[in-house]
């Protein structure tokens, strides 16, 4: 009988105990997988944040004057600048939300977050049509809108000069945003927006700058803010990645929570596996003594005990991580992009398997030590 055979047989000596231990470990590693997967996804979103794209806002949540545009354009290192304003509206009833983005039509591409595509002909129509609107594929699907429709959108807090808050749009195109497929959105011409609104005319919510050299992004951001520091309209500029990082830090100390929860789950596993191995060892003292008497070296018995724990822990960890990566993939598929695609990077899987091995070995050391030092005479005398 091979060593593996011996370990395998020992594992199934008490099947119920092994199954329950296995299930505890599987659940612990599923939790580990979910938490680390979420953590890794957030960090990936931060890393994906572009370094060559800057965003300028008012640090006071105020609007910025459109007059700042030429001043930003003059700052060395700034390749292109565009701007965005907008409002939250709804179609027919509150709940059918339509986020409206008013953009400079010539630069419609640049203002959109991420990977934004729209057929050229539709973009040309958008540039020509004053009340034209590009809508996201998701919005089109949700409100059953199509190209050629004329739709009214009720603004929550942007009244028009005519006293009403109903904005009418002619839908001229439908865009896809690969980075945010679930995003609802209606893109309108800034000129139409600014001409029609009753107040805050000549202001924007954001400036978006593209820099030629991403390594100089921080300097350029400082130069923009420096240009307006003592003006009536101070600015705050950061890279897209900087904003993503700030949003992540808003979630509080995510990493601390993840580590604390996983730490407590793993500490319990250590205790559980250690107790089980000790119990299983005690029950088999006579067997070990017989094996020793038959000539198995001391080290071999320790290896058998350690191997049993390692096989159980690593096997269960692999099972748990495998299950959770399938579940995460399914969740992403079912939600069709409503939640950012979660996935388990290889580093996390490796980290999990290593943790399982460490738990198995450290919790089983006392039992293995006793197996190694077992005295045949005493052990057989126990009988």
């Amino acid at each position: 009988m091979s060593y593996f055979g011996l370990v395998w047989a020992a594992l199934w000596r008490k099947p119920l105990r092994t199954i329950f231990t296995l299930l505890s470990i599987v659940v612990a590693f599923m939790l580990f997988g979910v938490l680390q997967g979420v953590n890794a996804t957030f960090n990936r979103l931060v890393d994906a944040g572009r370094l060559d794209a800057l965003i300028t806002v008012s640090p006071n949540g105020l609007l910025l004057p459109l007059a700042a545009l030429p001043q930003i354009e003059q700052i060395p290192g700034v390749a292109t600048v565009t701007y965005q304003s907008g409002f939250i509206g709804y179609f027919r009833s509150v709940g059918n939300w339509v986020p409206v983005y008013a953009v400079d039509p010539r630069n419609a591409h640049l203002t959109m977050l991420g990977d934004f595509t729209v057929p050229n002909a539709e973009l040309a129509d958008f540039n020509r049509t004053r009340a034209g609107a590009l809508i996201s594929a998701r919005l089109a699907e949700r409100l059953h809108w199509k190209i050629g429709d004329r739709v009214p959108v009720q603004a929550l807090d942007v009244p028009k000069k005519d006293g009403s808050s109903a904005w009418t749009f002619d839908i001229v195109g439908i865009y896809e945003n690969k980075d945010n497929p679930a995003g609802l959105g209606l893109v309108m011409n800034y000129r139409y927006f600014d001409d029609q609104r009753a107040r805050d005319n000549g202001t924007v919510q954001f400036y978006f700058e593209k820099v030629a050299d991403p390594s100089k992004a921080a300097e350029i951001a400082n130069a923009i803010d420096g240009r307006f520091v003592n003006s009536a309209n101070p600015t705050h500029t950061d890279t897209r990645r900087g904003y993503a990082q700030a949003a992540l830090s808003e979630l509080g100390d995510l990493e601390f929570f993840v580590d604390a929860i996983i730490g407590s789950a793993f500490a319990t596993l250590l205790l559980l596996v250690g107790c089980n191995m000790m119990q299983s060892f005690r029950e088999r003292i006579p067997e070990f003594a017989v094996m020793k008497a038959m000539g198995f070296p001391d080290g071999a018995l320790a290896v058998l005990v350690l191997g049993e724990a390692a096989l159980l822990c690593i096997g269960a960890a692999a099972l748990g991580l495998g299950l959770i990566s399938v579940l995460l993939g399914e969740a992403g598929r079912v939600s069709a992009g409503n939640i950012p695609s979660l996935s388990l990077p290889w580093t996390i899987v490796l980290y999990g398997i290593t943790a399982a091995a460490v738990i198995a070995l450290s919790s089983t050391l006392p039992a293995a030590w006793r197996a190694k030092r077992l005295s045949v005479i005493d052990a057989l005398a126990v009988q």
């Binding site: 505890s24 939790l31 830090s249 604390a260 107790c275």
Partner: protein, 398 residues
């Protein structure tokens, strides 16, 4: 009665030899403690946050925002509507005859958080001349009140503690120049106002170049005056506003904030509970099998199966209960009253709140522990009761 005596007798034997199985038993205590500590701590965040937001509102006040607005931030009331609102029926009047109601506005500014130096958005509320009568819960605890017309603010105690540059004497850069922090206030009871700063509405309005207010807060005249106010405001065709009791308004604002923490708490806690349940089953099966001879002897002596079942169940539940107590205490010691802040929504400002490990949450933890202990003990207990007595005794004698 005999059954009860048997249960007590067998249980006391169990508990007396618990120390010999200390390591194995500590698995149940430890895993239940972990479940309860995580469950309670996460839910305590949600409870603390909701309590702070809901505590901002009082039942004797009404809040008026523009029609269709979801909250104060998306509401705007033009100045010309303000006087019509302030003179409406249902608002309490002071001895001088002036209504105890103020138009207020809400702006934000950025300050770095002390822990990581990252800038976060903090609310600045412009309040009016009736503030003392309107919001008696606000108490100045250090420094002095701001003077209308001067660039001065007072900040909430938790805001001062959490963010850099909000101590008395500090200068805060606002549009059009620096403002000075002249005082620190705290509300009696939890309130979201304490998360930010207060200044004079008219002065703030000028500096931030607003030409509208966000809301009007009014002291109600008495019970039933909310309906009078509602009728008065909706009768005026020049007004486009909605009125709500302030306590109900803030309670409804707090509800969605709690949902995320409840989801995380129940999801993570639930998964840990499943793991703990398996380890409890495991431990109790082991306990039963290692005491097979003892249990068989008791059965042979005439102790009933029910007594054995109850004793095993009692052991599992007591161990899980001990875990729940340890977990609750840990959560309470580490987190109760711990002040932190979050921005619940990317467009809003920070809310500072204290985690609240309430007796209700501890009770919930104990209920979970009973379920873990109950199920974890039940099946092993059945096995113990069904053990073939003769076989076990003969087997052990061999």
């Amino acid at each position: 009665m005999r059954m009860l005596r048997q249960i007590v007798a067998v249980s006391s034997i169990n508990f007396r030899n618990l120390p010999r199985r200390a390591a194995a038993s500590s698995v149940i205590v430890g895993s239940t403690a972990g479940v309860v500590a995580v469950l309670i701590s996460v839910l305590a965040m949600g409870v603390g946050l909701a309590r702070t937001v809901a505590g901002t509102g009082r039942a004797d006040r009404a809040i008026i925002v523009s029609a269709g607005a979801q909250d104060e931030a998306t509401s705007s009331i033009p100045r010309e509507e303000i006087t019509r609102i302030l003179t409406a029926a249902g608002i309490r009047r002071a001895a001088s005859g002036d209504p105890i109601a103020d138009p207020e506005l809400l702006v934000q500014f950025q300050v770095p958080r002390r822990t990581n130096n990252r800038p976060v958005g903090v609310a600045l509320r412009g309040i009016g001349k009736s503030a003392a009568a309107l919001r008696p819960e606000i108490r100045l605890i250090e420094g002095r009140m701001f003077r209308p017309g001067l660039h001065e603010i007072i900040v909430g105690r938790p805001a001062e503690a959490l963010y850099r540059g909000l101590d008395i004497g500090d200068r805060v850069p606002f549009p059009g120049g620096d403002w000075r922090v002249v005082g620190v206030f705290a509300s009696h009871g939890a309130s979201a106002l304490d998360s930010g700063a207060l200044g004079d509405a008219e002065t703030v309005m000028t500096a931030f170049r607003h030409n509208w207010f966000n809301s009007v807060t009014a002291l109600l005249d008495g019970p039933g005056s909310l309906d009078r106010l509602k009728r008065a405001l909706s009768a005026d065709a020049a007004l486009h506003v909605q009125v709500r009791r302030e306590s109900e308004y803030f309670a409804s604002q707090s509800r969605p904030l709690n949902v995320l923490f409840e989801f995380i708490g129940y999801f993570v806690g639930g998964m840990m509970a499943v793991g703990a349940l398996f380890s409890a089953l495991n431990t109790m099966y082991t306990a039963v099998s290692s005491r097979a001879r003892e249990i068989a002897t008791l059965r042979a002596m005439g102790f009933g199966g029910g007594a054995v079942v109850m004793s095993v169940l009692a052991e599992a539940i007591v161990l899980a209960f001990a875990g729940a107590i340890a977990g609750s205490l840990l959560a309470w010691l580490l987190f109760d009253g711990h002040v932190t802040s979050v921005t619940p929504n990317s467009t809003e400002t920070q809310i500072a709140f204290a985690l609240a490990v309430t007796p209700g949450l501890m009770g919930l933890g104990i209920v979970w522990a009973f379920v873990i202990g109950g199920i974890g003990g039940f099946f092993p207990a059945l096995r113990a009761a069904r053990m073939p007595v003769a076989q076990v005794l003969v087997g052990s004698a061999r």
